[in-house]
Each structure stands twice: as structure tokens, then as C-alpha cells.
């Protein structure tokens, strides 16, 4: 067991977990934040995407130890109370969420791409979101939503 300190959505957590416990499980089980989902457990589907110091990672591939001392943003940290982030609002109005299971990961990936935008360079959304699988939407409404932002 190791003591891990992480800041999730601005809140500090101190948990005692096996050092190789997946960050995904730490968030879901030890922090009680179930927004990040497990879709495949091998980094292929992106449903567990969270931001680690602002960078999108598959939390099913990150051992707890690696997150120690770092800042994490999960889907629960995007809205301010009832006020949705711009991307969340765009997903809602464009019909970019259907069953919703991929939505948290998809939103965080999109958030990372939007934050990482440099200068006036356009974002290659198709390439950037290709690691996040969705089986409902055919991605078209997702691509419409992100382009609004």
C-alpha cells in the first residue's frame, strides 16, 4: 500500500492504495467519482479519459503512483454547478450524446484538444478524437458539436 495524494477537480484526496492500482479505479472507488468509465481496460476505447495536469490520458493505463502529486480533471469537474462548460452545452444541443457511456471521455479529450489549441491553428478533430470510440452517434453530431466551440 502506498499513500497517494491527488487533486481531483480542485479537491484534495489522500488515499492508501496498492501503487499499481489503476487511476481509473482510484477515481471510481476511492474518490467516489464514477464519471470516468471502463470500456475496454486496454487503452483502446477512451471511455476512461481524464486530464492529468491538463493532458488527456487513458486512466485505465495509468498506475496510481504515476498520478501522485498531480492534478486531475474528470467529467464531474467540467460544469460549474448547473452551468455547463461550452463543450458540454454544445454536446447537449447538437445531439452528440446518445447512450452517454463514451461521453465523459469524449468530452475530456475534446477539452484537452481545445485547451491545447495554439495560435490560430485549426484543430484536426477527426484525428484528435480517433482514440475515443462511440457506437451510437456515427460521430457526426460529435464533430458538429466540437466545431461549434
Amino acid at each position: 500500500m502506498s499513500e497517494i495524494r491527488i487533486t481531483v477537480n480542485g479537491r484534495r484526496f489522500r488515499v492508501r492504495v496498492p501503487p499499481m492500482k489503476r487511476l481509473l479505479d482510484v477515481l471510481r472507488e476511492d474518490c467516489g467519482l464514477t464519471g470516468a468509465k471502463e470500456g475496454c481496460g486496454e487503452g483502446e476505447c477512451g471511455a476512461c479519459t481524464v486530464l492529468l495536469d491538463g493532458e488527456a490520458v487513458n486512466s485505465c493505463l495509468v498506475p496510481a503512483l504515476q498520478a501522485n502529486g498531480r492534478k486531475i480533471t474528470t467529467i464531474e469537474g467540467l460544469a460549474r454547478g448547473k452551468r455547463l462548460s461550452r463543450l458540454q452545452a454544445a454536446f447537449l444541443s447538437a445531439g452528440a450524446t446518445q447512450c452517454g457511456i463514451c461521453t465523459p471521455g469524449m468530452l475530456l479529450m475534446a477539452e484537452a484538444l481545445a485547451r491545447g489549441r495554439t495560435g490560430g491553428r485549426a484543430i484536426d478533430w477527426r484525428e484528435g478524437l480517433a482514440g475515443n470510440l462511440c457506437r451510437c452517434t456515427g460521430y457526426t453530431k460529435i464533430l458538429e458539436a466540437v466545431k461549434e466551440v
Partner: protein, 770 residues
Amino acid sequence: MIAPSVGLPLPRTDGFDKVTGRAAYVDDLRVPGCLHGATIRSTIPHGRLRRIRRDPAFDWSGFTFVTAADIPGQNVIALITDDQPALVDGIIRHAEEPVCLLAHRDRERLLAGLRAVTLECDPLPAALTIREGLARKAKIYGRDNIFKEIRIRKGEVRTAFRGAHRIVEGTFRTGLQEQLYIETNGMIAIPERGGRMSVLGSLQCPYYVHKALKRLLGVGDDRVRVVQTTTGGGFGGKEEYPSMLAAHCALLARKAGKPVKIVYDRLEDLAATTKRHPSVVRHRTAVSREGRLLGMDIDVLMDGGAYLTLSPVVLSRGAIHAAGPYRCENLAIRARAVATNTPPNGAFRGFGAPQTIFAVEMQLNRIARALRIDPVELRRRNVLRPGDSTATGQVLDAGASGPLVLEEAVRRSGWSVRRASFTKRAPPDPERASKAPRKGTASGRIRRGLGLSLFYHGAGFTGIGEVYLDSHASLAVTRDGSVEIHTASTEIGQGMRTTFAQIVGDELGLPPSMVRLAPQDTSLVPNSGPTVASRTCMIVGKILANAAADLRDALVQWAGDSPRRAPGRRATRGPWNPQQFRRLASAWVRKTGPKVFTRKYDRPPGMKWDEKEYRGDAYGAFGWGVNVAEVEVDAETFEIRVPRVDVVLEIGTVVNPLLAQGQAEGGTLQGVGYALTEEVVRKNGRMANAQLTNYIIPTTADTPEFRTTLLSNAYRHGPFGAKGMGELPLDGPGPAIAAAIENALGVSIVELPITPERLAKAIRARPAHE
């Protein structure tokens, strides 16, 4: 009076919870004292189970262990035929068959426990393919391994073939496809104090699970409660399999006296749960010089897997759609579902139709080439028009939208100009390909092609299926004067929560926000049937619209008869504003007691079906569609890209265009995956690529530009004219993409998925054209 909401692109009512991460899926629920459960499966495809051996040196304290001997009722997953056990009892019939169950508080201990169990089996010869099943390499079901045989006959086939200008033949194959909902199957069973077993989970059909658990546990209706949790996709994959998973959780929970949760990891979900039936469809078609279909002789084979499950129904839909949306007065269709020693195949969006529609569309293209007729022109000459009859003899009315979708798609896609610009060129030569220039299309490395498919899809259960289902749905008026929908229909992403509220709201003259939805809990809501078969909006939506009309009339009448005029009451039916309705309805309930309006399915008048002869009105309504797909094929690597697909669908009144487009785009992309990349590789009856690393579904990078057009030809018996549409989009992409590849390369495509390996083989086998 409030403006109607049907036809408006309203955002989904459950969208806020989904974009904020608040929506609670089964694995997100925290149940105190819950154990983790796991399944031990056979690894051989056929054999006799001799013994389950638990390592005596292992510390078994804290474990719950369940075998078939622990089943209090019948060891069966009740569905159509009672042939599938919940746990193996003697004979193993496929390699992923559940044999025994384990549960423990601690996940790591549970995994250790799994490793300490060994199965001792005597293997038997296994039939792993349709051919081996037919040859009775193993005895699996009945005398001949045929789960079901269906014959559809119309006219005089033999005579038609005698008088033919040409007879065209073709054999077409499709493979397994996984639904690949992103949320894997998961369930929690909670034994309650009074002896009732509550089961919560990811599922499409609460009452299917309810029925299965009653038989398994040997208890009555009220001793089992099934609740749907937010469900992360279904596509048919959560139609019948959840009954199996619920059975396992309930057996463990019953024995442990504690809640038990099983959530499959992706590997187990891919390996063990149902898939789309593989098919082999053989066509012989007699055609006239002008390309009229004089006679069709069609043989359909589907691989059902080791147990019957839903195969007869999948086969039925496949058989009925096998002649496509075409007029042919002489046809014979023979369809058989064959038993093999593989995990049972089951429901998947389209339900047998994508397989047979792929075959008939490729056959039409073959006929077009044989007669040198443009494929669109050939379809124009044969497409079903109002007054024509389908394979089962169903006479179509003005709802026959085939010509409409065809002309609309030809116009919108610019078919003629684009097709001409991709005219047939010499097939690439694999030996010389690398020397070809990279640019240019005539003989260069990237070849482009355009292909079209025309298809229809019956909505609702087949024939008198809806009568047997006898679905009920209710509306309740609450004390605060709002309206609550009571159905067992499930939200699986398609948007039923939103469309139901729109339908009921419009019938009552209320905004959808005033219509709530009761939880999908069998202890609270009536059985409105399964959420399958493109039936939820069209069939259950109509029942709700009727219940809403009853509610409105009763309220108007009460308000009229009421000695003390309720505040805000209007004497005429209908137009009240939301505040008036709320006051009036609230007073109504408070003064005269609870109000529940229940309606059941009403069969549209005049619908006739003969189940024995397979004649008559197979479906209340058909959705119609055309796909025009453009492909780019790399002649060196055989990589296939699909830059654009024009999708034209006629689905009756569009209740919610935003959600309907989502269904159209999502269903079409699943069809793109079916056409190109989604391949299940099996070794000795087990899935060898049970990972998302090598079972490949489309990503954003693979997604074509969809140009979607939704057309409306209102269906009289649907709510506000709506028809079912959930499955329709999946029928089109396979044959459209295959046709585009034929156009690009001048090869003949006879099998899905069209992987680069298969395409290379097809090119080597040329010339198959003409």
C-alpha cells in the same frame, strides 16, 4: 395552447445527466455489502462435463460457489424454447458455456479462486461451421441440427425459370458482428428481506429477464423485480443475454444471502455474448431481357450457435426481407437456422435483414452487369410500388416509398455524373501495383467507385407477433397535476425518453417537460414489450398516444360534469395552457382519486397473417432507404476508405429530427464497420480476437461524410404518422460499399466484411465480372 413539439429537434431529456457524468450506469451503483461474481466457462466446444474440481489446498473461506445443482427452479434461460441451461449440467455445447459461478467480497481473491477451479471434461467432436452443423458432425439440436426452417412461396417458380431470358446465380456470405455497446453487460442481484430477488442492470427488455428469473428460481411474479439502470448501448446485444447474466447474479446472491454484482470485462463480453448470425445466401434469378425479375429462388442459411435463443425469429425476418424491396410474382425462399458448437448468436440491429439484403442487392448488381443495365435503372424497373405485393403477398399501399427514396437519392447524390466519372477501369495488378503512379484515377494507385443500395425494413414484430406480445402502457396523473408515463420500454441511447414525452405532450397539448417517465421497474410499470424490432416509437408510442387521448377526454368530461368549475377550466377539449392543465388535473386527482389510463396494442384493421404458410401482412409498416457510397481503394495495400455516404431514409413522420439523424448516422456507421473491418476470428469455436485492439470498429478518422435526408410518408397507425426506424439504417451500407468497390476495381464482391485480405483474394480470382 402550446405549440406542438413533434417534429422539433429537441435535445434529449437525459442529456444533462449524460454530459455531466451524473448518469448512473450499473457499475456506478454503490450497493453496501456487495460481492463480486465471476463465471467459469467451458473452454472446449463440445464435450461431457465429468467433474468440477476445486483445489483442496486453496483457502475457500468467504467464497460462494454455485453449480447447476444450486438452481431452485428449472435450469433454463426461458425465451422461446427451453433448450439453453443457465449452467452446464452434463453436456457442454460451446466453448464459452457457463459451468459454475464464484463470488467473493474481494476482487483479487475472486481472481485467485477462479484459477483454483478446474473442469474435467471428455471432449466430443464439434461442429463449428454451418457446413459441419448441416453434416451433423456433432449432434446439437433435434435430429438434424436445424433450429427452424421457413419456406415462403409465391406464384410458379419453375415456369418462370423456363421462360427466362437469363438465369443469374450468386452465393453471398456474411460474418459474425459484435454489437459493441461501449458499456459491457453488467448486473447486480439483491436478495430482499421478504424473499424477493431484485435485479438491476444494463438491459433492453425488463420483462424478458423477469420471465427467465421466475422459471429459474421457481417463484411467482411478485418475487422477482427487474430494474433497468442507465444503459450504455444495446443494439440487440442486451435483448436476451441479460437474462443469462441476471440468472447468474441471482443464483450467487440467493446462495450468499448478499448482493452480487457481475460486470463483464471487454474480453468476456466479446467472447461469450451474442453476435449477428453469419449467413450464406444463394440466389438464382430468372430475368427478362429488360431486367424484370421473373422468378427468384433463394436459399438462406444462418448459423444459430449452440442454442435456439432468438434464431427462429432472426431467420424469419431474414427470410421475409430476402427478396428485397422488389416486385417478383414467382419466388421460393427456403431459410434454415443451423445449430453449431459456438456461442449462441442473437439479436443485433437489423435482426437477419442486413445479411439477406446484402445478398439480394449484390445479386441485383450482378443482374445489372449481366444485362448491361445501369443498376439504378434496374432497380427503377423492379422496385415495389403502391399496389404491388411483397414476398409474403403483403399488398403495399401509398406507403411504398421505394421509388421516392430512389429518385431522391439519385438526385441528391449526383449519381449519374459521379458514377460516370468513376467508370470501370482495368483491375489493379498486385504484381505491378507498386509501379503505378500514386496520383490519378484511371490506372493509378487510388481507385474510386460509387455504389448504391436500396432497402426496406419492416417495423414492429412480424405477423401477429405484436398481438401475442399484447403490450400495455399507462399514463398516470399525479397529485401535483403532471403526467407520468408507465412503460417497460427502455432508453438505450435511441432517445425514447424524449420522443415519448413529445408524443404524449402533443396529444395533451402540453410541453414535453410536463411529462415524466416512471422508472423501468417491473414492480411499477406494465409490460409494454421488449425494446427491439424498431417498435418502441411506432407501436408503444401509439399505445401511449391512445392513452393520452383517453386521459384528455376523461379530464375534459370531468371538468364539464364537475358541479364546481375547476379554476381555469375550458369547456372544449384540448386547449388549456400548462398552468390550467396542472391545476385542473391536480384537482381531479385530489377529488376523485388516482388516475391511471392503460391502453393495449390495437392491431391495425385489415392486417392478416398466416404463420403456417408465411403469407400476408408481415409488418404494419416498412421504412425505406437508399445509400450511395463512395469509396477510395488503395490498389497497393487494398486499404478502403469511404469518404462520403448519401443516406436517404423514409421513416414516416419524424418525431424528433435530431434524434432521428442520430439513429440514421449511428446505424449507418455500424453498417460501414460491418462492411469493412468488423471481423470475428474464431479458433476451435472461441473468439481469437476478443479485444478492441483487433476487433476494429470505426473511429472518427474512418467516418464518412454523411449526407442524410429524412423523408416523411406518414403512417396512419403510427403516433402522429411515425414509423419505426432504429434498424433500417444498418441494412444499406454493406451492399452500397461492396457495390462501390466493384465499381472501383471491376471485381466481384461476395462476402462481408471486405477486409484487405479478402479483397486481394477477390482480385486474384478475377475476372468474375461478366
